[in-house]
Symmetry: C2
Subunit: 140 residues, 2 copies
DNA sequence: TTTGCTGCAAATCCTTTGCAGAGGT
DNA sequence: ACCTCTGCAAAGGATTTGCAGCAAA
């Protein structure tokens, strides 16, 4: 992927701006809808291409954990996420476990440890409230 | 997904047996190939349906972290994995960080924390050796 | 006998790609 | 002017699903 000098196109700039505006970790398709309000003729292909490039250069983060579709994060600094099991909402958590975790497993593997992907799973406050009103029927 | 009483079909049994034989965390397609040697007429659809059911009932684990395709783990007990960045091989690690990690973030979120997905990334011994002989060209 | 499961094939969903023309630098 | 980027549309790969017949219980 030896990329030459990047150009700052209108599309690339707007994609980054829109992604930086939110903390909702939208999917490519959701970003497409957001950007389309400002650039109605942009194509989904361009969205995908730019999200790929922006995450390669480290300006954004591609989140591939635990969902069938990719989500993107406008923040690239050290933080992790928690996903709601009911509504699939993904929220930032600023607890820094980073290097510590990696150190803890170095004795337990013969791999050279480079890093990790961590995502918590839970129920968000909204869905907790709904559950109180109308609990989800679990088999059994 | 309120499922009724499950039947133990020949297909379901063989899929589980084959998955339990290996510690390689195969994809659906790889499991298809393994099972086909014993049940040549089985279909990929049946493989997918059964892997889904078996992971719902907790007999196996569906691994969705950090790869474009799902992998499956015949062990359902508490352990995590490390993935090789070069060859994508996925290996078990038996360091138990489970409950401890969840406790550490309970103060930092208003979600009800249920658990987490954790996957380490590194370079496996094989690929380390290869790198020593012929280092991978990185852009620059 | 009941009804969950199977094989088959088509459908679906997300993502990537080829191409000719547009637009940054 | 050069060469990366874009829009369009088609391709791609993994997974899901409808259906009629099959087979556990």
């Amino acid at each position: 992927m030896n990329r030459a000098i990047l150009r700052i196109t209108r599309q690339r700039r707007v994609i980054l701006e829109e992604l930086r505006k939110v903390d909702t970790h939208p999917s490519a398709d959701e970003i497409y809808e957001m950007v389309r309000k400002r650039l109605p003729r942009i194509s989904l292909g361009t969205i995908y291409r730019n999200l790929e490039i922006l995450s390669e250069t480290g300006e954004i983060q591609k989140l591939e954990t635990g969902s069938h579709l990719k989500r993107f994060d406008g923040r690239a600094d050290d933080h992790c996420h928690i996903r709601c099991r009911r509504c699939d909402r993904l929220v930032d958590i600023f607890v820094h476990l980073g290097a510590e975790l990696d150190d803890r497993i170095r004795g337990a593997t013969d791999f050279a440890v480079l890093g990790h992907k961590l995502e918590f799973v839970g129920i968000c406050p909204n869905c907790q409230d709904q559950a109180a009103e109308a609990p989800i029927a679990t088999a059994g």
